[in-house]
Symmetry: C2
Subunit: 176 residues, 2 copies
DNA sequence: CCTCTTTGGTTTCGATCCGAAACTAACTGT
DNA sequence: ACAGTTAGTTTCGGATCGAAACCAAAGAGG
């Protein structure tokens, strides 16, 4: 609702547009299979054309870097630069994060859990994707220190397990 | 976050812009002291000029009606028309409401409570207003079936107690 | 090898939206 | 009466976004 508008009225918000902030956050959190303009366009519920412009603007500002994907000549792999991470430190939504962080841990966990459930219900109605973490995805099978992803048929390192993936599919919920 | 974008990608969303939906919802929920273009501009964290345009467009579409306020010649009182209420029935955010309504009642209550706390913290940092319900406002003193508002110095009927007010001030939280 | 289709991505164009600034009119205080 | 403030509008220019057209690489099927 208007929480988002409120959050974006902060001091550091003027430097980037709302769409640019969202893109920067997305590419900082998405895993290597999901750091493409197309994936971001789905995440942001917009068109590929608009997403392409947003990415282009951030690249020209030096906050994102575009690399070619040798496995697929059409695709591009987007990385957040050092300047991009520095900019993220001034994220106007960080205030909101801090506000939420003041809540006790178990309250936060319950909040996230139910928000996720609502999001999934909504995404299903919109026939849109959900975008979840690898360690909560049904494609992932734990192996050694990391995991094997049956979807991308690749090994994931432990530090990648918390990243967002476009192919996320929720694990079966334990009944009850 | 991107929940809002997702919610707005529904079937009926095309008929009104995001700002217009927000305005329509606001004027349907705000009490009689808060149904003005200025109050909406604060709620939406935008300028009075932009809010004026949004209201004007909705009036010309027949979803809002503008009445003069005899107590203050400058001010305008905005009302939602029957057509406006009919349009609200197709609110793309209604899907989100339904998704949340599937959660158990006490979970919803906890969610609202903590979201409100986060909003208040954030609003304080932004030196913005909070916009809460009259029955949770420190200005309200219960009287008979309604309440007396010390802020506007007016009697509120029982059915007005759930409306949003621009002058909302949270009650003192019970310590603990 | 050669088409057809699909997919990832970009560009252009027009519509819309929005914020800043200038302005009018009505209220308030002295 | 006068200055200062507040509610609201209008205009203008910039930013954004979605639709459509387009290009190139990857598959599919024969």
């Amino acid at each position: 609702m208007h929480l988002a508008r409120l959050a974006h009225s902060g001091p550091g918000a003027a430097q980037l547009s709302a769409a640019q902030w969202t893109a920067l956050r997305y590419f900082a959190r998405a895993n290597r299979f999901s750091r493409t303009p197309s994936a971001f366009s789905e995440f942001h519920a917009t068109t590929r054309g608009t997403a392409s412009q947003t990415v282009k603007s951030l690249v020209s500002m030096g906050f994102l870097e575009r690399r070619s994907n040798e496995a697929d000549g059409r695709s591009a792999l987007i990385e957040v630069t050092d300047a991009g991470h520095a900019m993220l430190a001034q994220d106007p939504l960080a205030d909101l994060r801090r506000a939420l962080a003041e809540q006790p841990a178990e309250v936060r966990a319950a909040l996230m859990k139910h928000l996720r459930a609502a999001t999934e219900t909504l995404a299903e109605q919109r026939s849109a994707r959900t975008f979840g973490r690898c360690d909560e995805c049904s494609h992932c099978a734990p192996r050694d220190t990391g995991a094997y992803c049956h979807c991308t048929q690749a090994m994931l390192r432990a530090e990648e397990m918390g990243a967002l993936c476009i192919d996320f599919t929720p694990k079966l919920r334990s009944t009850g």
